[in-house]
């Protein structure tokens, strides 16, 4: 097991090289650079723009730029400087990272807490009216894009004035006691976390229902029932445990998406997370911010999958990596 983990972590290194090299080249190949907007400013001269290009190191050949960037990372763990903000990329990402994690973890917990019981419920009462109603809702959840449901809920918040319209904290946040701060963030979390959880739980619930139905048709379930075991232990001790296995893989994927899964929604509801930062950087071609966030995204994706594999081995004794 440990060997397997070490192997996977070692595999990460060439992968990250590949991802970084490819994205670096692709970003540079697309037309224009960070200074495009400034070139259309009537009072800024071409010399000044050239000087800025030099300051940013954009006048050098792409491979030199790439190697310099790599060297910084290896020597100092420095992901470079943002062109737009003149601050280190690590600071910029750090200032948003926690916010995105709060949102996604909240959504993850809600989604799993809701989807698993509902999935079990639907499977055990197949084709009942509640199963049908839940399935309908799930289809709705899968097919509604987050930006749409986000906007819809913002409009509801606006009409009812029950919830704040976007953002993460209130104006007087700094003056609240610690429990007030938690409550304040929680109030702001309601809309984005609900939207994310709704979409995620819809898929999960369908998955859980399908898996469980599959398991319930297995011989061992019939055997268990035949020997007179009560229905509850049959379902919860045996069938559910087996049905949940494929979901663990899904869980790994979701861990990988913790940083990027909410990007679009963040831009709709104004959650001050990584998504907004990255989108803006991408549009402006703020090179090192884009690179930094891509790297962090790749790492979390790989680690998430690794975690899923480990969890799977823990949950299912039949799986061995050695």
């Amino acid at each position: 097991m440990l060997r397997h983990i070490a192997q996977r972590l070692i595999n990460l290194i060439p992968l990250l090289f590949g991802v970084s090299l490819l994205s670096f080249v692709v970003i540079q190949l697309s037309p224009g650079d960070f200074l495009s907007e400034m070139r259309l400013n009537p009072v800024v001269s071409a010399e000044t723009i050239e000087a800025m290009r030099r300051n940013f190191g954009l006048d050098q050949p792409v491979h030199i730029q790439y190697l310099k960037w790599l060297r910084q990372i290896f020597l100092r763990g420095d992901l470079g400087i943002s062109f737009a903000y003149h601050v280190p990329v690590t600071w910029l990402i750090g200032s948003r990272l926690l916010n995105t994690l709060i949102l996604n973890i909240a959504a993850l917990i809600i989604a799993w807490a809701v989807a698993i019981p509902i999935g079990i419920h639907a499977a055990t009462r197949q084709y009942s009216w509640s199963d049908n109603a839940l399935s309908m809702t799930a289809y709705l959840g899968i097919s509604t894009p987050t930006f749409f449901s986000g906007l819809l809920l913002l409009l509801v918040a606006f009409k009812t004035r029950l919830l704040p319209i976007g953002g993460m904290t209130s104006l007087d946040y700094e003056f609240f006691p610690w429990y007030g701060k938690i409550l304040d963030v929680a109030r702001h979390l309601v809309i984005p976390a609900t939207v994310l959880a709704f979409t995620a739980s819809a898929g999960l619930m369908r998955q859980m229902r399908g898996n469980l139905l599959e398991e319930l048709r297995q011989d061992y379930v019939r055997t268990a029932r035949a020997k007179g075991l009560a229905e509850r232990p049959v379902i919860y001790k045996h069938a559910v445990r087996n049905a949940i296995n494929p979901l663990i893989t899904l869980f790994g994927f979701e861990i990988g998406g913790l940083l990027s899964g909410s990007a679009i929604l963040e831009n709709v509801v104004g959650w001050p997370g990584l998504g907004r930062l990255i989108l803006e950087a991408l549009v402006q071609k703020d090179l090192y911010v884009v690179m930094g966030s891509l790297m962090i995204g790749s790492v979390t994706l790989v680690l998430g999958n690794l975690m899923a594999d480990i969890l799977l081995a823990v949950a299912d004794p039949r799986i061995r990596y050695d």
Partner: protein
């Protein structure tokens, strides 16, 4: 929005001499340690102290360093705590005293001496001196400091020269034979004065270090200014909070120290949609509405306890430009685009009223001049106009030898079908809508026009780099003084889009614009500059290198609880220091 201020010049002179004018009702206004404070006599009301003013903007600030600021989102912050020697009156556009209480010019107009107002202190208590002004200018000219003021203060490769005379007086000398005197005050108004005792160490470590100092990761306690507010806190992606500067150097007409407000909060929102919702829900006090929203906002005024104002036209405008650069297009297209008769015919086919109606919901005025009608100082209303008339356009084309064939296609005298690609930056819905209106009418003239919006960086790459484009719809930001747009209008300019970087003017009218811009730079009298600018506008309207569409209007919406709202140029609703909260504390 830059902070602006007016001082009562007359009162200032009299009070400075310590003479109480006969019959003057006005008591002598002064502040402890500041014998001659600025007086906000333009404010319609005397306000009350206290309260919070909340606005939102759709971008985060990028820096808190006033010298390196280039975007409006950062400007909203630095404008609240940073000031210049002189300021622009937001109502009239005239230059008024600010940190400098007065100035003199030498006979030849090349030497300017400014005197700082006595007793002004930085928000950390240190006195403001000419050393700080000297330091700010040095920072601008230091290699590696990213800023755009350096271009304004460099004249044909020669930088501005200056000398500190004493603690309150500083003297500027402009290079021999070059005379930016006409624009000098505007240029000096673009230089924010920053504290040497706070930023001196950073500059000593080099320009790149200075650019990074006072970044968005700075501790607000390290930031000092002379302006009405002080930065208290900033949370990325959420909000910045500014607090009243208790030692500010301006007073109201009763002699009470400004500003009135206790707190000024700038929220970051992801888009204009949310900015509007937050305003309607009462979370913010100000919303600069888009033209299309005017009618709807107007209807909700009572319920929302706000007023949306029918503001004047802004300074910006979208325009159509045809490529006349031989390095970018070849004949026959080059021949058409260089032919003024062709351009005039096209201009007659631009339906400005439809653009105003469909794109701006009627809240735009047809534009014929490179200077916006909203620029009260320099707008010329007598330039040639080209009302929408397809028959007239057809007739002009026929006079120039263009014939419409039996197949309905327009052909030039050599028999080439007139066809070209029209582009703009994709995602800008206004420009895309304008492009579609234009295309429809050009097609009616028999032209084959492909409308193909592309990404902004690629468009800019073509405009300033490869020159491989045919027709583009775009806009430029405009200042009040057209003379600062030398990059666009001088034939040698990089942004002289239709034919940039000419070694000598290719046409007579471009040569005349070059001469006019040199004259304008040498002309200290605002009235004479106006005549020169009038001629410039006339030439552009006759030769149409750029075909302007409309000047969209502004429609600022302000909560009724906010006092001292008075509309100025570009729909600015007042100054930060005179804003006040009408009710008791929120």
């Amino acid at each position: 929005m830059r902070r602006t201020a007016i001082a009562m010049t007359v009162a200032v002179i009299l009070l400075a001499g310590g003479i109480v004018p006969l019959g003057a009702q006005q008591p002598k206004l002064s502040l402890p340690g500041i014998p001659n404070p600025g007086v906000a006599s333009y404010a319609p009301e005397v306000g009350k102290y206290g309260g919070t003013y909340v606005i939102s903007q759709i971008s985060d600030p990028r820096t808190f360093n006033p010298i390196v600021v280039q975007d409006t989102a950062s400007g909203a912050f630095t404008g609240a705590y940073s000031e210049s020697l002189v300021d622009q009156d937001y109502l009239t556009g005239e230059i008024v005293p600010s940190l400098a209480e007065s100035w003199t010019t030498s006979q030849d107009g090349r030497t300017w001496t400014f005197t700082l107002r006595e007793g002004i202190r930085w928000s950390d208590g240190k006195p403001l001196t000419t050393e700080d002004v000297d330091f700010s200018l040095k920072a601008i000219f230091t290699e590696g400091v990213d800023n755009s003021a350096v271009d304004l203060l460099t004249f044909q490769g020669q930088p501005l020269k200056w000398k500190v005379l004493d603690r309150r007086r500083i003297q500027f000398t402009t290079p021999r034979n070059l005379c930016p005197v006409g624009l000098f005050l505007r240029l000096i108004g673009a230089v924010d004065v920053v504290p040497k005792h706070k930023l001196g160490d950073a500059l000593a470590r080099g320009g790149a270090e200075f650019t990074k100092t006072w970044g968005i990761n700075a501790n607000p306690k390290d930031i000092a200014g002379t302006g009405p507010f002080i930065l208290q806190s900033y949370v990325p992606g959420q909000r910045g909070v500014l607090l009243r500067n208790p030692g500010y150097w301006q007073v109201d007409i009763k002699g009470q120290r400004l500003p009135y407000l206790t707190r000024y909060v700038i929220l970051t929102v992801p888009n204009l949609e949310q900015a509007r919702l937050k305003f309607l829900a009462g979370e913010t006090d100000f919303y600069p509405a888009r033209p299309r929203e005017f009618a709807e906002l107007k209807a909700g005024e009572k319920a929302g306890n706000y007023t949306v104002y029918d503001g004047p036209e802004g300074f910006g405008s979208e325009f159509l430009v045809l490529n006349q650069n031989p390095a970018g297009v070849a004949p026959p297209k080059l021949t058409w685009f260089q032919d003024v008769r062709f351009r005039r015919a096209l201009n007659h086919a631009i339906d400005r009223n439809t653009i105003a109606q469909q794109v701006y919901a009627g809240r735009a005025t047809p534009a014929w001049s490179p200077v916006s009608i909203g620029n009260k100082l320099y707008f010329n209303d007598k330039v040639p106009q080209y009302p929408y008339n397809l028959d007239r356009a057809q007739q002009l084309l026929a006079e120039a030898g263009y014939r419409k064939g039996a197949d309905g296609l327009l052909r030039d005298p050599q028999g080439n079908v007139v066809e070209f690609t029209l582009s703009t930056n994709a995602g800008n819905t206004d420009r895309e809508a304008i492009g579609n209106i234009l295309r429809q009418d050009f097609v009616k003239l028999g032209m084959r026009v492909t409308f193909a919006p592309e990404s902004f960086p690629s468009l800019v790459g073509k405009l300033t780099g490869s020159y491989k484009w045919e027709a583009i719809i775009i806009g430029l930001t405009g200042g009040i003084e057209p003379g600062t747009g030398r990059n666009v209008w001088l034939s040698s300019g990089d942004l002289h889009m239709w034919r940039p970087n000419q070694t000598k003017p290719e046409t007579e009218w471009e040569a005349e614009i070059d001469r006019l811009f040199e004259q304008v730079a040498c002309e200290p009298s605002s009235a004479k500059r106006k005549t020169l600018y009038a001629r410039f506008q006339e030439i552009v309207a006759q030769n149409l290198p750029l075909m302007y569409f409309t000047n969209p209007k502004t429609q600022p919406a302000v909560r009724n609880t906010i006092g001292n709202v008075k509309l100025g140029l570009q729909g600015v609703t007042g100054t930060l220091e005179t804003r006040y909260y009408k009710l008791a504390y929120k």
